[in-house]
């Protein structure tokens, strides 16, 4: 009745096959698919926060209005920095895929530094706003603004943590070409966070904001 069957996912000859998800239903490895699924969920998280901001952007009460307080040139520069970090992330991955460990480390570090620069810019922006009278409790607008950008900042910070962990792993000699999928998956997360920032930057800063 039952001819013997091979194991469900046949023994894989090399890790490249594992990385590329051979033998899985989707052709993606479990880890990569997990990250995609997780990012799908994240879309709704930021969707909720962005919607909340859109509802509240003109509800600034007696506090500063968004149109009066935003420093668009400054934020444009820090946005540019963040977007460039996506480029360096790609360079880090492609270096590792070529087996160029040294460049991989350089680009991983650069990506983390660019991300930190962005976070630094956000901290500077927040402190400036607070000094100018836009506290967390000032108005629905201020609460929504700080919450949305704060959540994004936390995401970038977690990404930096992952990049640094990758770097440590690389320095210990364990991040090799065979493991490049790990970098790719962290990269997926990093690009996602950047793409979300494009939306946030557009919605908060580029769409003309109400002034008082």
């Amino acid at each position: 009745m039952r001819p013997p069957r091979p194991l469900r996912r046949p023994p894989l000859a090399d890790t490249a096959a594992v990385s590329h998800g051979h033998g899985t239903g989707t052709g993606l490895s479990d880890n990569k698919l997990l990250m995609w699924v997780f990012l799908g969920s994240e879309c709704l998280l930021f969707g909720g926060l962005i919607s909340t901001y859109l509802i509240y952007r003109s509800r600034f009460g007696d506090g500063p209005a968004p149109g009066d307080i935003f420093d668009i040139p400054f934020t444009s520069v820090s946005s540019f920095v963040l977007l460039m970090s996506s480029l360096t992330m790609v360079l880090a991955l492609s270096a590792l895929q070529r087996g160029d460990i040294r460049n991989n480390r350089i680009w991983l570090l650069t990506t983390a530094l660019l991300g930190s620069l962005f976070i630094g810019g956000q901290v500077y922006e927040f402190t400036t706003f607070v000094r100018e009278g836009l506290g967390y409790s000032t108005s629905p607008f201020s609460s929504a603004f700080f919450t949305l950008t704060g959540f994004h900042g936390v995401h970038v910070s977690l990404g930096i943590l992952m990049l640094m962990s990758l770097l440590i792993s690389s320095l210990r000699g364990t991040l090799t070409t065979e493991r490049s999928e790990t970098v790719e998956i962290v990269g997926l997360y990093w690009h996602f966070v950047d793409v979300v920032w494009i939306f946030i930057f557009t919605v908060i800063y580029l769409v003309p904001s109400p002034t008082s």
């Binding site: 699924v37 799908g40 629905p140």
Partner: protein, 663 residues
């Protein structure tokens, strides 16, 4: 490679824990990553919370049995009905569905475990932590009192100054993490790990419905995560999301909550639909009528469930256009649900039906859910809903769908799969008592609530004065509630009696119900490794098709016995994922973080330390025991790297064992 393995055995490098080895005793239950044991843990925990939620329900009915009830004060009454709703939704029905999903989904797709076994354990422990955290509010004496939907601004600091709503917000946040992790895990499992030949449209309907539910969770949970964060920030950090005095929108919470909340009701009901879609064909001895329609209507419900949320808000002043639009979409969503009901009926039609207990419960679902669905359609008519809203008519409606639909379906699943899980049947005689007590008690309790609601009795009132004509039906409903309780006790007795009897009785055999779907290929109870070898799937209902064929006249005849078709579970060389301490350690940290947010941030220090320690311990821990030569890739953000061991067990030579130490 083994030297690398030893070098990097990381529990060692942290020096607190070594890899757990036990597979018996309590230690095994704490550290297990076996999807079957986790399923049982989910089920047992949910039944514990079911007892708590049931007691709360009985208190409510005691209070309302007579006019001017004095059993509970108004304040306590608010806490009891709030916690009853929260418990039943988040700590009973959802985890019971998770119990079935965990246990059965890998078996139905012919896999040895889920894609990420440690993450699976993690989601159970986080759920337990969240459930205990929520109920801790009772011990502190400050249980939430804002209803399960917790409408802000009523739940803001001004109107709910105690800690109750913080327990609600943080507790649900924690259980939400559990649902999200579980959803991601099961989606990857279904998409990546199906048996050879099992295309998506050869998957059993139960697996399909669970897949739809996981996608709903994946997208709905983050929305309530946002809502709960905003509420938490409002209450604790002085944000202004729900404070109308500062210009906030008083409807924001309602929108966010119901964008989550309406998909949530399909999250509650679809697993039950899946269960009875397995039970009804088996006991009607016919294939499921219109399998593709069943699947597509499930998917359609999943999509349309996102477009109807504002029907919870018809009287909140959202304006005539919104009301009209949501009214129409709500009518539409009755269509796929109706398709399902007709397909179940068509499956039964002309079948040789056996009314065993699972089938009784399944028929209970079809009939009771139809009543609940019809009263639901009456809500879609906004003018009628304006009369019904916030009355007992609504209470009647959602109990008919959640109790009559979801819970009865879960009981059908208990009776149907009990032999699969425990290796013995539940007693039929007690089972029938269980069913009839529950169905009669249920209709006595919630049927009259339609009348009470139409007579104008409001929801959420702690007492009513005599003379409005509410007395008789309230007393009647309270008697019904106690009959339900007796039914549940009968179930518990049945569990104990059947287990006792099984010690002496002969084992249940391979195929007690003449079943159809692939989980029955493995013996009962399921061995630790599930399947000796892969099953080649050639058709839907593969198990049945191996047992039956056609003779030369085209009549269905039995061609093989279950013994010939089933595996005997004798394989010994299978490689299973190793147990781990880290999931329970990580989960134990979260309530401390919660207490820290509520009382003093110092609590966050031990909580955060536990979580961090667990994450890094987890990442450095090889997925498998170092003895089992094997490694895996990892990535960051979530401590999620946990590929199933079995499929890559043979290629240790090529893989490094070190983990990527990422966040």
């Amino acid at each position: 490679m083994s030297d690398v393995t030893e070098l990097e055995t990381p529990g060692g490098s942290i020096g607190v824990y070594t890899r757990p080895k036990a597979n018996t005793g309590w230690r095994d239950w704490i550290t297990t990553v076996d999807h079957k044991k986790i399923g049982i843990l989910y089920g047992a925990t949910a039944m514990f919370f079911f007892a708590i939620g049931g007691l709360e329900a009985l208190l409510i009915r005691l209070q309302l049995a007579t006019p001017d009830g004095t059993v509970l004060g108004a304040d306590t009454y608010n806490r009891v009905f709030t916690m009853h709703g929260v418990t039943m939704v988040f700590l009973v029905i959802m985890p019971l569905a998770a119990a079935f999903a965990n246990y059965l989904l890998p078996l139905q797709i012919g896999a040895r475990d889920v894609a990420f076994p440690r993450m699976n354990a993690l989601s159970f422990w986080i759920f337990l932590a969240g459930g205990l955290f929520l109920n801790m509010a009772w011990i502190v004496g400050d249980a939430p009192d804002g209803g399960w939907f917790a409408y802000a601004p009523n739940t803001g600091m001004i109107f709910s100054p105690g800690k109750g709503m913080d327990y609600y917000a943080i507790g649900l946040q924690i259980t939400g993490i559990a649902s999200l992790i579980s959803a991601m895990n099961l989606i990857v499992t279904v998409l990546n790990m199906r048996a050879p030949g099992m295309t998506l449209f050869k998957m059993p309907v139960f697996t399909w419905m669970i897949l739809v539910v996981q996608f709903l969770l994946l997208f709905a949970v983050p929305v309530i995560t946002v809502a709960l964060f905003l509420l938490l920030f409002d209450r604790n950090f002085g944000a202004n999301f729900f404070n109308p005095e500062m210009g906030a929108d008083p409807l924001l919470w309602q929108h966010l909550f119901w964008i989550f909340g309406h998909p949530e009701v399909y999250i509650l009901i679809l697993p039950s639909f899946g269960i009875i879609s397995e039970v009804i064909p088996t006991f009607s001895r016919k294939p499921l009528f219109g399998y593709p329609f069943m699947v597509f209507s499930g998917i359609a419900i999943g999509f349309m469930g996102w477009g109807v949320w504002a029907h919870h808000m018809f009287v909140s002043g959202i304006g005539p256009i919104s009301v009209a639009a949501f009214s129409v979409s709500t009518m539409f969503i009755a269509v796929p649900t109706g398709v399902k009901i007709l397909n179940w009926l068509a499956t039964m039609w002309g079948g040789r039906i056996r009314f065993n207990t699972p089938m009784l419960f399944a028929s209970g679902v079809v009939s009771m859910f139809t009543i609940g669905g019809l009263s639901g359609v009456t809500h879609s008519l906004a003018p009628a809903d304006t009369q019904q809203t916030d009355t007992y008519y609504i209470v009647a409606h959602f109990h008919y769908v959640i109790f009559g639909g979801a819970l009865l379906g879960i009981f059908a699943g208990f009776y149907f799969w009990w032999p699969k899980v425990f290796g013995h049947l539940l007693d039929e005689k007690w089972g029938k008592w269980n069913f009839w007590l529950m169905i009669v008690g249920f209709n006595m309790t919630f049927g009259p609530m339609h009348i009470l609601g139409l007579q104008g009795m409001s929801r959420r009132i702690d007492s009513y004065s005599p003379g409005f004509g509410f007395e008789f039906w309230n007393m009647f409903a309270s008697i019904g509630a106690f009959i339900i309780a007796v039914g549940v006790v009968v179930f518990m007795v049945n569990v104990v009696i059947s287990a006792r009897r099984a010690r002496t009785a002969p084992p249940v055999g391979l195929d007690p119900w003449d079943a159809r779907s692939p989980e029955w290929f493995s013996p009962n109870p399921t061995p630790a490794h599930n399947f000796d070898e892969d099953i080649q799937i050639n058709s839907l209902d593969e198990f049945w098709h191996r047992k039956y064929g056609e003779d030369e006249d085209g009549r269905v005849v039995r061609v093989a016995t279950a013994e010939e078709v089933c595996q005997d579970g004798s394989a010994t060389d299978t490689h299973l994922p190793s147990p781990s301490y880290w999931p329970v350690v990580l989960a134990a940290g979260l309530p401390f973080v919660g207490f820290g947010l509520m009382y003093t941030l110092w609590f966050c220090v031990p909580g955060g330390a536990l979580v961090l320690m667990a994450i890094y311990g987890w990442i450095f821990e090889p997925v498998d025991d170092p003895d089992g030569p094997h490694g895996h890739g990892g990535h960051g953000d979530e401590p999620t790297e946990d590929p199933p061991s079995e499929e890559r067990a043979d290629d240790a030579s090529a893989e490094t064992t070190e983990e990527a130490p990422v966040g």
